[in-house]
C-alpha cells in the first residue's frame, strides 16, 4: 500500500530473497520489517512452502549467522541454549553454545516441544540474553528468531500460550505459491538451488545502523493516537475475550516505523499501521468461545477494527 520507492539497501535484501523465494515479496518485506524493529516472527504454515529457505536467504543476504532448531518433544532447554561440558584436559567446564547463539534462528515447529524448552527460547527472544548455569550470556545482535508452527497437526503438540505469542512481533502465513509461481519454483529446482549462489548484500554493521535509523522514524501524535485507538478497540470488541496489550501498541508502532523506513519515508502513515495491524495484532487477541463457534477469526476482527477506526485526517487541537 505504498507508492514511494523502497529504501535502496533494504530493497536489495528483499530482492535477494526473491531470487530464492518466488512470489512472496510481502513475507520477505515483513521479515525485514521485523528484523529492523528487533522483533521476531511467527510463521504459521505447513511444511514445504519455503520457510527455511526464506530465513536462510535472509540470513545469507545480510551475511548473518544462521542457525536452525528443529523442535521435538524430547528437546531439552540446553539443546537450545548450549551447555557447559567438562573438559578433562583443561580441567574446567567449557561452554558449548547452543543454536540460539546466532543472528538469525529458525525455530522450526516450535509447538512440538515442551513448554520448558519453549521458554528457554522465549526468554532469549525477550531479554536478548540467556542464563545458563547461572551465567547470563548476552546474545549477539542482531538476534532474530523466525519460529514456525504447524497449524494442522494438533496431536502431541504444546501450543504456545497466548501470553507467549505476545513475544512475537509479527505472525504471518506464508501460503502456497500460485500456479505460475510454483511452475517457476519447479524450473529453478532443476538447476543448482539458487540459495547456494546468493551473495550477501548488507553487513551486520549496516543492519545495526538501519535498526537505529528505524527508531528515529517520526511517529506523530496523531498516529500514536491512531495506534492506541486501534489496540483499545481490540480490548472493547464484542468478540474478543482478551485484547492486545500495550506491548501490542508498542509492537505496532515499532513495526510501522520499520515499515516506513522500508518505504524510504521518515514518518509513519496510517497506511503503514493499517497494513501491519493484522500481522501485529491478530495473534495477540483471544476470542470469546462463542465468537469462535461462529467461525469468527482474529484476522476478521482486526480487519473490522481497521475498517471502523477513523483515520486521523486533522491535527488534534491541543
Amino acid at each position: 500500500m505504498t507508492y514511494e520507492g523502497k529504501h535502496p539497501k533494504l530493497n536489495e535484501v528483499i530482492h535477494n530473497i526473491e531470487k530464492v523465494i518466488i512470489g512472496k515479496r510481502d513475507i520477505a518485506e515483513l521479515s525485514v520489517v521485523a528484523l529492523l524493529a528487533g522483533g521476531h516472527v511467527l510463521l504459521e504454515d505447513v511444511p514445504g512452502v519455503g520457510k527455511t529457505m526464506m530465513v536462510r536467504a535472509l540470513a545469507k543476504s545480510i551475511s548473518a549467522d544462521f542457525k536452525r532448531i528443529q523442535f521435538t518433544p524430547d528437546l531439552l532447554p540446553s539443546d537450545v541454549t548450549g551447555v557447559s561440558i567438562y573438559n578433562p584436559k583443561e580441567q574446567e567446564f567449557v561452554f558449548r553454545p547452543g543454536p540460539i547463539m546466532g543472528n538469525i534462528i529458525l525455530a522450526d515447529e516450535i509447538n512440538r516441544t515442551s513448554p520448558k524448552t519453549q521458554s528457554a527460547l522465549l526468554e532469549g527472544m525477550e531479554e536478548a540474553s540467556v542464563t545458563i548455569d547461572g551465567v547470563t550470556r548476552v546474545l549477539e545482535q542482531p538476534f532474530f528468531v523466525m519460529a514456525t508452527q504447524n497449524p494442522i497437526e494438533y496431536e502431541g503438540t504444546y501450543p504456545l500460550p497466548e501470553a507467549q505469542l505476545d513475544r512475537f512481533l509479527l505472525k504471518m502465513k506464508m501460503g502456497y505459491p500460485d500456479i505460475y509461481e510454483e511452475m517457476e519454483v519447479l524450473n529453478r529446482a532443476r538447476l543448482v538451488p539458487p540459495i547456494e549462489n546468493l551473495a550477501p548484500v548488507m553487513s551486520l554493521v549496516e543492519l545495526r545502523g538501519l535498526q537505529q535509523e528505524a527508531k528515529s522514524i517520526i511517529v506523530d501524535d496523531t498516529i500514536k493516537h491512531y495506534i492506541v485507538e486501534m489496540t483499545q478497540r481490540t480490548r472493547n470488541h464484542r468478540s474478543v475475550y482478551l485484547g492486545a496489550s500495550p506491548r501490542g501498541s508498542i509492537a505496532l508502532m515499532k513495526a510501522s516505523q520499520s515499515y516506513a523506513l522500508l518505504c524510504n519515508r521518515d514518518y509513519v502513515l496510517p497506511d503503514d499501521v493499517q497494513y501491519l495491524a493484522p500481522f501485529v495484532l491478530s495473534h495477540r487477541l483471544i476470542l470469546k468461545s462463542e465468537a469462535k463457534y461462529e467461525g469468527i477469526t482474529a484476522e476478521q476482527v482486526v480487519a473490522e477494527i481497521i475498517e471502523n477506526n477513523p483515520v486521523p485526517v486533522k491535527r488534534a487541537v491541543n
Partner: protein
C-alpha cells in the same frame, strides 16, 4: 476470444437500444391514434435511425447530417408538391421555416404550419432517442423513462379513448427486462467484469423467470373495479369551474342554431372559428333570447317584438362609464369583431349596455327589444352579414345587495311577468316542488336564483355532450333532465334553471350566444377566438330597475364575475352608490369620463366579498407560487453547489495562508469530492482515497495523490503548514476545479 466478447457486448447493447426503442414506440402509438398525425412509419424509421447513430457512436457532425437529411427529405416527401429533383422545394422549405420562426416569436402557436410541426416532432423524437442512449449507455438506468411511459399510458387510458391495456402489459415486461439487463450491465461495469455468455445466462434465467412470474401474477391477479368510474367529467368540470375558463373541452353544440323547438340529443365538437374578438376582457357574446317554453324546447310566439333602429356609429344610449345606474357598475369598453362565419345576427357583449355599433358596410342596425337580436342593414343591400364591426359598450356588473332587495314581483310591468313566467300547463308538479325545496331557505330573488344555479353544481349533475337522449313523447325536457338523466350540456342546464325560476314566479328567459372563447395574445392584445364549440346558452333573470341579469347554471362554465358587493366598498363609493339609488336624476352625463383602466381598477376594488376572497386567494396563490419558485430555485442552486462552490472556495483561499488554511482547504476538497459521489470511508486512509480519486477522475499525473502526500507531510510528519500550503495551493485549485466536471 476478445472479439467474441466484444461481439457479445455489442449484441447486448443492441438489445438494450432495441428495448429502449420499443418503449419509445409505445409513446408513438397513441399519437397515431389520438391526433391527426399520419405516416407514423416515417417517425418510427427516424427513431430507429437516430438510435442507430447513437449506438454506432457516429461522430456528431455525421449524425446531424444524417438525421437532418432524413428530416428534410421526409418533410419534402410529405408536404412538398414539387418533385425532389426540382430543387425549388429547398427554397420553399426555407421560406416555411422563416415564416414559422417569426410566428413562434409572436407566440402564434396555432398558426404554425403542419410541416413545421412535423419538423419539431422529429426533433422531439431525436431528443428522446438521445435520452434513451444516455439512459442505456451512460446512466445505465432507464427507470425514469419506464415510469414515465407507464404514467403516460395510464393517463391516456384514463382520459382519452386510447386503449392502453395491452400496451401497459407490453411496457411492463419490456421495462422490467431492460431494468434487469441494465442492472446487470451496471454491476459488471462496477466490478470491471466483461460481459460473458455464461454470466449473461446466469443473469437472464432468473430475470426472465421473475419477469414472467410478476407479469403472470399481475395479469391473473384479481383487480378492483375502478373506484372512480370516470374521472374525466368531474375533473374537466372542476377545472373549468374553478378557472372560469370555458374553452376547450367545455362547450356546446355544433354551432349556433336558430331552431330550438326540440332540444336534446348528443352533440359533437366543432372547432370551426365563428369570429375573432379583440376585446380587453373576457365576457359572453349574446345573440338573442327566447321566452316561450314548450316542454320540448323554446320558441318565440310573438316573433316580432319591437324593433328599434339605430344608425351606424350612432350613440344608442347617452351614458358615461361613471354613470350611476341603480344596482350596477359600468365599465366602458370597446371590442372589434372579425367574423369568420357569416350570420344575419350580430353577436354583442353581454351583460352590457350597448353604446355604439360601427361597421364599414352597414348603415343601420335593428335591435329587437323582445328577442334582443341585433341585425345590420344596408340601404342598398337590405339585410347584411357583417364581416368586421366595432362595438362600444358598457360592461355591467351588478350589486348583489341591491339585487337582494327584490323579493316579490311588485313594480314589474305585467307584460314582463306574463311573458317571462310562462310555463307549459302540463309541467310536472315535481319541478315546482324541487324549485321550492331548493329555495326554501332564501327569501329574495337573487339568492333563490343563486341557490338554483348552485344546485346544478352538485355531484349528481354531469356535464356531457354525448348520449343525451331526446325527451319521450309525453315527457318534459326539463323534467327528464332534472329527475332522470341528470346529465347534459348548456341547453339542459339553462332551460332547467329558467323553468325552475318561472315555477317560483320569477321572470326569467333563455339567452343564447357564445361563451368567451380562447384567448391568445397578439401584438400585446387579447384576441379571443370563438368557435362553434363556444355556442352556449344561459339564463337571464329580470330584476326591477336593474333589468336582465345573467346567471350561469351550466356545470363547468363560469360567466366571469358579474356581481359585486356594495357593502365592501369604500365609504366614498358607498355614498356615491346610495346617492345613485335614491336620486336617480343625479345621473350626470357630464361627469368626467374615466379611463377604462381606472374603471377596471375600481371595479376590482368594489368587487363583492366572494371576489375579495378570490383576490385574497389569488394573492395567496401567487405568494405560494412565488415561494414555490424561489424554493425550487434555491433547491436547484443548492443541489448544484458542486458546480459553483469550488470557485467560491478558490477565491476564499486565494490569498490566504494562515496556520489552518491547508487543513481547511484539504477538507473542503474532501467534502466536495464527497458531494461529487466519490466518498471516503471513515477507515480509509487518505492515500488509499487519493488513489481512488485519481482513478475516478483518471488523472494522468496523480494530482490527488501528490496533494495528499503534501497534506500527510504536514499532518503526520509535523511539517509547517504554511510552507506546505504554498507549495500545493495550485495543485489544490486544479483539483477542486476538476471536481466540478
Amino acid at each position: 476470444m476478445i472479439q467474441r466478447k466484444s461481439l457479445l457486448e455489442s449484441l447486448f447493447k443492441v438489445v438494450l437500444y432495441g428495448f429502449g426503442g420499443l418503449l419509445l414506440w409505445e409513446w408513438l402509438q397513441p399519437v397515431n391514434q389520438l391526433t391527426d398525425t399520419d405516416n407514423m412509419g416515417m417517425f418510427i424509421v427516424f427513431m430507429c435511425l437516430s438510435l442507430l447513430t447513437y449506438f454506432l457512436r457516429v461522430h456528431w457532425v455525421v449524425r446531424i447530417l444524417i438525421l437532418m437529411g432524413y428530416m428534410t427529405l421526409a418533410i419534402q416527401y410529405l408536404y412538398s408538391q414539387l418533385s425532389l429533383f426540382d430543387l425549388a422545394w429547398i427554397g420553399e422549405l426555407m421560406g416555411d421555416m422563416k415564416l414559422n420562426i417569426s410566428r413562434i416569436m409572436e407566440a402564434d402557436w396555432m398558426l404554425l404550419t403542419n410541416s413545421f410541426r412535423t419538423w419539431l416532432f422529429f426533433i422531439l423524437i431525436w431528443l428522446i432517442s438521445y435520452l434513451i442512449h444516455y439512459w442505456v449507455t451512460i446512466r445505465r438506468n432507464i427507470f425514469l423513462f419506464f415510469l414515465l411511459t407507464i404514467v403516460f399510458l395510464a393517463v391516456l387510458d384514463t382520459f382519452t379513448p386510447y386503449d392502453a391495456d395491452n400496451s401497459i402489459i407490453r411496457v411492463m415486461i419490456i421495462g422490467l427486462v431492460v431494468l434487469g439487463l441494465l442492472a446487470y450491465s451496471r454491476l459488471f461495469e462496477h466490478e470491471k467484469l466483461t460481459v460473458s455468455m455464461d454470466g449473461l445466462r446466469r443473469w437472464l434465467i432468473p430475470l426472465s423467470i421473475m419477469v414472467l412470474a410478476s407479469g403472470t401474477i399481475g395479469f391473473a391477479a384479481p383487480k378492483l373495479q375502478p373506484q372512480w368510474p370516470d374521472p374525466v367529467p368531474f375533473i374537466t368540470s372542476y377545472a373549468n369551474k374553478s378557472s372560469g375558463d370555458s374553452n376547450g373541452a367545455g362547450s356546446k353544440r355544433v354551432g349556433y342554431g336558430e331552431n330550438d323547438t326540440k332540444l336534446g340529443g348528443s352533440i359533437s365538437d366543432d372547432q370551426t372559428v365563428v369570429f375573432y374578438a379583440d376585446a380587453s376582457t373576457r365576457h359572453y357574446w349574446k345573440v338573442e333570447n327566447k321566452s316561450h317554453y314548450t316542454g320540448k324546447g323554446w320558441t318565440m310566439l310573438d316573433n316580432h317584438g319591437e324593433l328599434t333602429e339605430y344608425d351606424n356609429d350612432q350613440d344608442i344610449v347617452n351614458l358615461t362609464s361613471a354613470a350611476a345606474l341603480p344596482g350596477m357598475r359600468l365599465q366602458e369598453l370597446k371590442a372589434s369583431v372579425k367574423m369568420e362565419q357569416f350570420y344575419n345576427h350580430v353577436p354583442y357583449p353581454t351583460p352590457s349596455i350597448l353604446q355604439r355599433v360601427s361597421a364599414d358596410d352597414a348603415d343601420q342596425y335593428m335591435f329587437n327589444d323582445s328577442t334582443n337580436l341585433l341585425t345590420a342593414q344596408s340601404k342598398s343591400w337590405g339585410r347584411l352579414k357583417l364581416t368586421d364591426y366595432e362595438i362600444d359598450y358598457f360592461l355591467t356588473t351588478f350589486d348583489r345587495n341591491y339585487l337582494r332587495k327584490v323579493t316579490s314581483a311588485n313594480n314589474i310591468p305585467e307584460n314582463i311577468m306574463n311573458t317571462y313566467t310562462q310555463l307549459p300547463r302540463n309541467l310536472p308538479e315535481r319541478i315546482r316542488n324541487l324549485a321550492e325545496k331548493i329555495t326554501s331557505t332564501q327569501d329574495n330573488w337573487y339568492d333563490k336564483a343563486k341557490a338554483i344555479e348552485n344546485h346544478f353544481d352538485g355531484p349528481e349533475f354531469v356535464y356531457d355532450k354525448q348520449d343525451i337522449p331526446y325527451p319521450e313523447e309525453r315527457q318534459d325536457y326539463v323534467d327528464q333532465f332534472l329527475f332522470e338523466t341528470l346529465r347534459g350540456y348548456c341547453d339542459n342546464f339553462s332551460t332547467a334553471m329558467v323553468v325552475l325560476l318561472r315555477s317560483l314566479d320569477i321572470p326569467a328567459r333563455w339567452a343564447k350566444g357564445y361563451s368567451d372563447g380562447v384567448a391568445t395574445i397578439k401584438n400585446g392584445e387579447s384576441i379571443y377566438m370563438i368557435t362553434n364549440n363556444n355556442a352556449h346558452s344561459w339564463v337571464e333573470v329580470y330584476f326591477p330597475e336593474v333589468g336582465w341579469v345573467p346567471f350561469e347554471p351550466t356545470k363547468g362554465f363560469n360567466n366571469t364575475n358579474r356581481f359585486y358587493d356594495a357593502s365592501v366598498n369604500t365609504q366614498a363609493n358607498m355614498n356615491d352608490h346610495d346617492a345613485a339609488i335614491t336620486t336617480p336624476e343625479k345621473r350626470e352625463p357630464s361627469q368626467p369620463v374615466k379611463k377604462p383602466l381606472e374603471e377596471v381598477d375600481q371595479t376590482n376594488q368594489r368587487t363583492n366579498s366572494k371576489s375579495v376572497d378570490i383576490s385574497w386567494k389569488v394573492l395567496l396563490r401567487n405568494i405560494a407560487i412565488g415561494l414555490g419558485v424561489v424554493s425550487i430555485l434555491t433547491f436547484l442552486f443548492y443541489q448544484s453547489r458542486r458546480k459553483w462552490l469550488p470557485y467560491v472556495f478558490i477565491t476564499r483561499y486565494k490569498g490566504k495562508n494562515s496556520t489552518d488554511t491547508f487543513t481547511n482547504a484539504y477538507h473542503v476538497l474532501l467534502k466536495q469530492l464527497n458531494r461529487a459521489g466519490v466518498q471516503r470511508r471513515e477507515g480509509q486512509t487518505l492515500r488509499e482515497y487519493a488513489v481512488y480519486v485519481d482513478t475516478v477522475y483518471s488523472m494522468a499525473n496523480n494530482n490527488m495523490l501528490k496533494l495528499t502526500e503534501g497534506y500527510e507531510r504536514f499532518l503526520y510528519r509535523g511539517d509547517q503548514e504554511k510552507q506546505v500550503w504554498k507549495q500545493y495551493q495550485e495543485l489544490w485549485e486544479n483539483l477542486i476545479k476538476e471536481t466540478t466536471s
